[in-house]
């Protein structure tokens, strides 16, 4: 008998099969993930969890006998009152309340758990940051050397010995440079004949041979400057791996809890999304009434302030923060603004101007989210800020604006904003 302790063995034997399964059911799982996430609070969105996919999609069919019709026999234990010949009313077909599906297949949905990572991956699948390519070109300030073949001149520190020796060897072979061993062997032979004596002719011939070889060795150098190679580097611009996200929000009295909640959900999604694309993501909260201030998260969402509404102040504050701390050459800048659409009418021209000249040129993306309550008539007049922004968004590519009035719209709107081109078409179809 052997006893083997397998407990220390590397685990995760089933990991590969598990991944295969998820890949197999990817379309189904993705749909399930989206559905599941709609029901969750935003804090839990990045948590993994139970996913239910229809059993039909991951079915393994076999040839088996049907559950309907025919003559069936059963032997059961625990008879109490029946005697031979008794009739028993047939229990309701497919009853039992086991949740048999309507088509009589009786197989329940397939339920399993996803890890946080897997969940988020599927959740944010085929979303993409807009204008990433542009920034990569723009961000030339930081470059990274990348190996790119060899060259024949360069600093000694980048000398490639292996390549140099390879060239040297082929040149020496081609020019038939005698090897030191050959010369040594010849010298030994001469010395031996010398000692023996009496081979004068032979010794002379050998000496000539030796001299010729030594001359050739001098003529054909071991390493020629022609052989030398240096490693070549290209300077590739490095994408900026950090991003800052500006959250701008109107906190004047007209913004109620519901609206703030919508805004918060949108910010959270954006934060999650950025966090997966960049190594480091900073968040700056700027709230404004008739004046704007940078605040911490707690204050941003929870404290109340009264006053009028002047949007341009927030933009000014944002421009100031960018200048102070987040130079556009080193940071990817994203901004999301949430508002109920109120603005002091006389401030609108100023706002547009600021946006066009100071903010949008620095930003990767500027999203404006107008939060409100669902109206029964479905429409409602466009607010003054909306009208003003529409003019900008029409011409600027990196600005988008959407209206949201219900929690369930947040995710679709978010997807719409960041969907890849292909996925966009699919979503519209």
């Amino acid at each position: 008998m052997n006893i083997i302790d397998r407990r220390r063995d590397p685990g995760g034997k089933s990991l590969a099969n598990r991944q295969r399964f998820i890949r197999r059911a990817r379309a189904l799982v993705r749909r399930a993930v989206r559905e599941a996430s709609a029901k969750r609070s935003i804090k839990d969105v990045e948590k993994g969890g139970d996913i239910v996919v229809p059993a039909d999609g991951v079915r393994e069919p076999v040839l088996r006998r049907g559950s309907q019709g025919g003559k069936r026999e059963y032997v059961l234990p625990g008879n109490k009152k029946y005697i031979q010949g008794d009739g028993i009313p047939r229990p309701d077909d497919e009853g039992g309340g086991s949740g048999a599906s309507a088509d009589g297949e009786g197989e329940d949905d397939f339920r399993f758990a996803l890890s946080d990572e897997e969940f988020l991956d599927l959740f944010l699948e085929d979303l993409e940051l807009p204008d990433l390519a542009k920034r990569q070109v723009m961000g030339v300030e930081e470059v990274q050397p990348v190996r790119a073949g060899y060259r024949s001149s360069g600093p000694p520190s980048s000398l490639s010995i292996s390549r140099t020796m390879r060239n040297s060897l082929s040149r020496r072979t081609a020019l038939r440079r005698p090897s030191p061993e050959e010369v040594a062997a010849l010298e030994v032979e001469i010395a031996r004949l010398d000692d023996e004596g009496g081979h004068e002719d032979k010794i002379i011939a050998l000496r000539e041979e030796l001299e010729r070889k030594q001359r050739r060795m001098k003529l054909v150098p071991f390493i020629d400057p022609l052989d030398v190679r240096y490693r070549r580097y290209d300077q590739i611009p490095k994408p900026v791996a950090r991003a800052v996200m500006f959250c701008l929000m109107d906190v004047s009295g007209s913004m109620d809890e519901h609206m703030k909640d919508l805004a918060k959900r949108f910010y959270s999604l954006l934060y999650l999304f950025l966090k997966r694309r960049y190594k480091r993501v900073d968040v700056v909260f700027i709230r404004h009434t008739h004046e704007a201030r940078e605040v911490d998260e707690e204050t941003f969402f929870h404290s109340r302030e009264s006053g009028g509404t002047v949007v341009s102040t927030a933009l000014e504050e944002m421009a100031r923060v960018i200048q102070d701390r987040y130079p556009a050459s080193q940071w990817n800048i994203y901004a999301a603004q949430a508002s109920d659409g109120d603005n002091l009418p006389m401030d609108n021209p100023n706002t547009i101007n600021l946006l066009k000249t100071a903010i949008l040129p620095l930003c990767q993306y500027y999203a404006y989210l107008e939060v409100g309550h669902a109206r029964e008539d479905g429409g409602g007049d466009a607010t003054s800020l909306w009208k003003a922004y529409e003019m900008v968004a029409g011409t600027e590519e990196n600005m988008a604006m959407r209206k949201v009035s219900h929690r369930r719209d947040i995710y679709p709107v978010f997807r719409e904003l960041f969907a890849k081109d292909g996925a966009k078409a699919e979503a519209e179809a």
Partner: protein, 532 residues
């Protein structure tokens, strides 16, 4: 079809031992154990198993694993290594979730029919549970694997580990060469037909030349001995025409292809016109693994009965010999009784007959019959009643029967009464279900026959055979489901499987469901993405 997993734990119980009275013969005290304890326990268990009962086992290899590893083992049908496929991942995520949520416990052990016999035991079992598990798996199942005739006939315990490792490597190589997707699709199709990739009868051996010649001689001698010229003059019967050419062709065709053939995967492997070598090999792998598990399906109840009876006897003997404490014995009994619990048919927990319960009850009953028979037993089982050799009788039964045959042979009226077994018939054409037999004098044989039929694997699986294919013509593959009792195939599933079959075969496939009088249904499938 796993390696035999013992019934899952439903509740965690640990009975605290009473303070021991300085006894030194105890194998362990308390719930903790280490490898030394395991060794000691195994020796004690083997002393009883082999020494007293006379079990004959493979060498044992005990492997201690964690619960995560147990989950892993679950999803590869209990085998230590297996090829990769998404369906195992599906099982894994389901089991993992059921386990994490607490809907389902894990087995205490898994035992594999191999030589050496591998027993996986969980690290979190208490010392008593480890003793129980070793008695159950390393003695009971192990003996059964080594001695039962179905296992002997169909499986090669010493070769399975090597074969699985070959299969795994081969399939991985195919994935590298032909792409994961292509291989996965092929395995999907093969899995769909896996239940019909089994040889149920040992194949005919082709004879060597010497035997053939001898037989030919005997035949000729027989013919000469019976020769009578008169037969030539007997006129032919009027109505009987000589077989037509077409009919002959068909017969010849079937003979060449050895049709009808019930092992569909085997038939495809040998005959499918468009498959490539590696595809045939993968079909073969799936088929051989199904064949390896076939005995387990045929002997589930007996196998568990044998193991359960063995652990019960060994644990009792250990207690009698003072090697385990009263507390441990009570802990064992608690676990044992929950394993062999049989809810009655009207109980909410009822979900079929518990193989552990029936198996254990039958083994106990056979022991009783051979030691202290009643008059009834003497008239029903004259060959074993009162023979006084319970161990010998049981070992004989374990070696020479399977579920279906042991029930039809040894299910006693005593046990039928005790379990209150009754037989009902549910005919779809009749208004009510009928109680056909109960546990009374008139019903014993009927109940026994019906229960045996219920355990007949060949009856449970639909009987589907490849009946014809015209390789020279349109190559359509004809299958026939021989319908029993008017029960047809699950339609949606059948169509899906047939689609896989058509893709494998490469041409049209037709499945007819019929019995001698009626044609119930016809399924057809054209290849959509044929393998080639």
């Amino acid at each position: 079809m796993t390696g035999n997993a013992m019934l899952t734990r439903d509740r965690k119980t640990r009975i605290v031992d009473a303070p021991e009275r300085g006894t030194s013969s105890l194998l362990y005290t308390g719930a903790d154990w280490n490898f030394e304890t395991l060794g000691r326990v195994f020796d004690a268990v083997r002393e009883i198993g082999e020494g007293e009962i006379g079990l004959d086992t493979y060498r044992t290899q005990i492997e201690v694993i964690t619960s995560e590893q147990m989950l892993d083992a679950y999803s590869s049908v209990g085998m230590p290594l297996f090829y990769k496929h998404w369906s195992f991942g599906k099982d894994f995520v389901r089991n993992q979730m059921m386990y994490n949520k607490g809907y389902q416990g894990l087995a205490y052990e898994i035992v594999i029919n191999s030589d050496p016999c591998i027993c996986y035991i969980m690290e979190e079992n208490s010392a008593t549970m480890q003793t129980l598990v070793l008695a159950h798996a390393a003695m009971g199942h192990n003996h059964f694997f080594k001695n039962n005739y179905v296992f002997k006939q169909w499986t090669d315990a010493s070769g399975i580990a090597d074969y699985l490792s070959f299969a795994k490597a081969f399939i991985a190589k195919c994935e590298e060469r032909h792409g994961v997707e292509a291989v996965e699709r092929l395995i999907d199709a093969a899995h769909a037909l896996q239940s019909h990739g089994i040889h149920r009868y040992p194949g005919k051996r082709s004879m060597d030349l010497a035997t053939e010649e001898r037989r030919e001689k005997e035949r000729r001698a027989h013919g000469e001995a019976l020769f009578n010229d008169l037969w030539r003059t007997v006129p032919q019967a009027k109505g009987k025409k000589p077989a037509t050419k077409k009919k002959l062709d068909e017969e010849r065709r079937k003979a060449i292809l050895k049709l009808p053939e019930e092992n569909i995967l085997y038939f495809l492997e040998k005959t499918a016109p468009r498959l490539q070598g590696w595809q045939r090999e993968i079909l073969r792998i799936v088929r051989l693994i199904a064949q390896y598990f076939y005995p387990q399906r045929q002997t589930k109840m007996m196998n568990e009965g044998c193991a359960t009876w063995t652990h019960h006897r060994i644990m009792t003997r250990l207690h009698e010999k003072g090697q385990i404490s009263d507390g441990s014995y009570l802990e064992f009994l608690h676990s044992h009784t929950s394993v062999v619990m049989q809810p009655e048919f009207d109980d909410r927990r009822y979900s079929g007959i518990n193989p552990y319960a029936l198996g254990f009850a039958m083994m106990q009953d056979i022991e009783r019959i051979s030691l202290t028979p009643t008059d009834e037993d003497r008239s029903w089982f004259p060959d074993i009643a009162g023979n006084g050799d319970a161990y010998g009788t049981l070992k004989d039964v374990w070696a020479n029967f399977r579920d279906e045959s042991i029930i039809s042979q040894y299910l006693s009226p005593h046990l039928i009464r005790r379990m209150g077994l009754f037989h009902i018939v549910d005919d779809h054409d009749v208004e009510e279900m009928e109680v056909a037999a109960i546990h009374d004098e008139r019903g014993y044989r009927e109940v026994r026959r019906a229960l045996a039929r219920q355990y007949d694997v060949a009856r449970r699986d639909p009987d589907i055979q490849v009946v014809d294919v015209d390789l020279a013509g349109d190559r359509r593959l004809e299958l026939r489901h021989n319908v029993v009792d008017g029960i047809t195939l699950e339609e949606k599933d059948a169509d899906r499987v047939l689609q896989h079959l058509a893709d494998l075969w490469g041409y049209e496939v037709r499945l007819i469901e019929a019995d001698d009088h009626t044609v119930y249904a016809e399924h057809k499938a054209e290849p959509m993405r044929p393998f080639a």
